[in-house]
């Protein structure tokens, strides 16, 4: 069992949620409540990471992170190290790859709130922020929770993007899924098997937690 790889995987999952969820809530809500020109294109762009092969996404991210790109240059100047093949680079890549997993459930969650209910909250004298905190977020909660859990589960399972952008640096960018591949290449079936079982267990536990939470929320709401 590669404990370092497990640690990297878990940190990456948690980090991706922390980085992506606030933006996802803001953007998913925006897509749910606003009509604007070009909304269809924006929705398509949000979904793109879902249908692209991870290697294609990884390739573009590598180009974008490179020292010749403005983003890569800026990161190098601030952090003193290049973005690719670092945990930070992996985190940013993972956040981008997970956009559809966060935005879509959150958008659906906010879309499920009837217009009248949102209007009623405004007519109760609540400011836009109070409306969000007291009415909209609690009602869109199942969507937000689903987004977080999907992101976590998807990050643990991500392979292509991680390999392209992060490489395979032990303790830094080697996640559990990459470690399994690594062990298989070295004919270490036993280690690979243990780690595969660990990932499977985490995945099942995550999904059970989601279902339980969703059911509890559902029971409370009716």
């Amino acid at each position: 069992m590669d404990w370092d790889a497990l640690r990297v995987s878990l940190w990456l999952g948690a980090g991706t949620i922390a980085l992506l969820l606030p933006w996802g809530i803001w953007f998913g809500r925006l897509l749910a409540v606003r009509e604007f020109r070009g909304k269809l294109l924006v929705e398509a762009l949000v979904t793109v990471p879902l249908v692209l092969p991870p290697t294609v996404l990884g390739f573009y991210l590598l180009v974008a992170f490179g020292v010749r790109s403005p983003l890569g240059k800026a990161f190098q100047a601030v952090a003193g190290q290049p973005l690719p093949f670092s945990f930070e680079g992996l985190l940013v890549a993972s956040a981008i790859a997970n956009i559809p997993f966060v935005v879509q459930p959150i958008q659906r969650g906010f879309e499920a709130i009837p217009l009248d209910v949102r209007d009623a909250s405004a007519c109760c004298g609540l400011t836009p922020w109070q409306r969000f905190v007291r009415i909209e977020a609690p009602l869109a909660w199942p969507g937000i929770l689903t987004a977080a859990i999907l992101t976590f589960a998807h990050t643990l399972g991500e392979f292509g993007v991680v390999l392209m952008v992060g490489g395979n640096l032990p303790g830094e960018t080697r996640t559990l899924s990459v470690a399994i591949y690594d062990r298989m290449q070295a004919f270490d079936d036993r280690s690979a098997g243990v780690m595969a079982a660990a990932l499977l267990a985490i995945a099942v536990a995550t999904l059970m937690a989601t279902t339980t939470l969703a059911r509890r929320v559902g029971r409370r709401r009716g």
Binding site: P114, D119, A122, C123, C124, L126, P128, R131, R134
Partner: protein, 362 residues
């Protein structure tokens, strides 16, 4: 009084055409009546600031809420408006009390719980405060929505089809409760409905809306005695509406005596208490005109009057005759032939014959 008046002027060619001007004084109930899709709800949403038409002037409670000319637009949460939505729009994750407390942000935190309790008792829901909306019946939800709307101490109360989702019996009770409430509230109340029963039972004023345009607007009795509203004639049939007082009961005859501005009417006794003021509607189709007072009929009501207007709509055979009976204008729908035979013109003196069972007591 004028300070608490609601005045509204909305104009826009598209996408939802609007062309309305009206005012509503404190204590009055303005009913906006029209077919679905005529823009009724859009008017309420514009008053609340939930919708912005091209041209809008909305004043209430002594403040200007919308003035597109002066670039004034107060967002909904800055408008002291009580809005009862069609499907009530209760917050499903909050209890009845929680729903009301949400609208009590202007009160100190420590008072809110008690005030919510008070408001729920006011709408006859003292025991269901901790229930969530899904555990309440349609009528109870409506009451919570009403309590929530009143919680803000609104300068205007807006009701959007408030009885559409409850059955007939509950509807009657809620109508009565809202009628009692508005007497104590003393704020303008705007009611949107497509059911004329609501109008007759609750409204003091009426605005007839057709495709966003105000067809007619005015005090209910005056508007209801106008002979020239073909649109209303087609929608529900013409009929004058006025207030009457239950003067005396004749239990042995199964009748009550109603006094009104034009004399006395005998109507069937429907458990009405003596001394109460009720609203009466007399459908134009139920009124017979006679040149002299008839005798030997089963009829109870023969009211002497003078014709004040005769109106014929294009393409409609029957004619509407307006008769002044004391201070009340009655309408009668008769054939062209009857007009010629009785030589009816403005000023003609005749009798309006009304069967007691044709009198609709609200």
């Amino acid at each position: 009084m004028g300070d608490r008046r609601l005045s509204v002027s909305l104009r826009q060619p598209a996408p939802i055409p609007l062309e309305v001007d009206f005012t509503c004084d404190a204590g009055d109930v303005l009913a906006i009546f029209g077919p679905s899709g005529s823009g009724k709800t859009t008017i309420l949403r514009s008053i609340a600031g939930l919708y912005q038409p091209d041209h809008a002037l909305v004043r209430a409670g002594g403040e200007t809420w919308s003035d597109t000319g002066g670039r004034v637009f107060a967002p909904p949460h800055r408008r002291a408006v009580g809005f009862v939505f069609q499907e009530y729009a209760l917050f499903p994750h909050l209890s009845a009390a929680g729903n009301v407390i949400t609208a009590l942000g202007h009160r100190p935190r420590s008072e809110r719980r008690a005030r919510a309790s008070e408001l729920l008792s006011l709408v006859h829901l003292p025991d269901q405060q901790d229930r969530r909306p899904r555990e309440l019946s349609g009528g109870e939800r409506q009451r919570v929505a009403l309590a929530r709307a009143l919680a803000r101490e609104p300068a205007v109360l807006l009701l959007d089809e408030p009885f559409a989702a409850v059955d007939r019996l509950v509807r009657r009770r809620l109508q009565d409760e809202i009628d009692q409430l508005r007497r104590t509230l003393d704020i303008p109340l705007v009611l949107v409905t497509h059911d004329f029963d609501d109008v007759i039972r609750l409204a003091t004023h009426l605005l007839l809306l057709d495709r966003g345009r105000a067809v007619a607007c005015g005090a209910l009795p005056e508007l209801m005695s106008r002979p020239d509203l073909p649109w209303l004639r087609e929608a529900i049939g013409l009929g004058s509406v006025f207030d009457a007082v239950v003067a005396r009961k004749h239990p042995e005859r199964g009748l009550v005596e109603l006094t009104f501005d034009g004399g006395v009417l005998l109507a069937p006794d429907r458990a009405l208490a003596a001394g109460t003021t009720i609203r009466v509607r007399i459908p134009a189709r139920e009124v017979i005109l006679a040149a002299s007072e008839p005798s030997g009929l089963s009829l109870h009501n023969a009211l002497p009057g003078a014709v004040s207007a005769v109106h014929a709509d294009d393409g409609v055979d029957n004619v509407i005759v307006q008769i002044a009976v004391g201070g009340v204008l009655l309408l009668a729908e008769v054939t062209r032939d009857a007009i010629e035979r009785l030589r009816i013109g403005v000023g003609t003196r005749l009798y309006a014959l009304i069967k007691s069972v044709s009198i609709e007591v609200m």
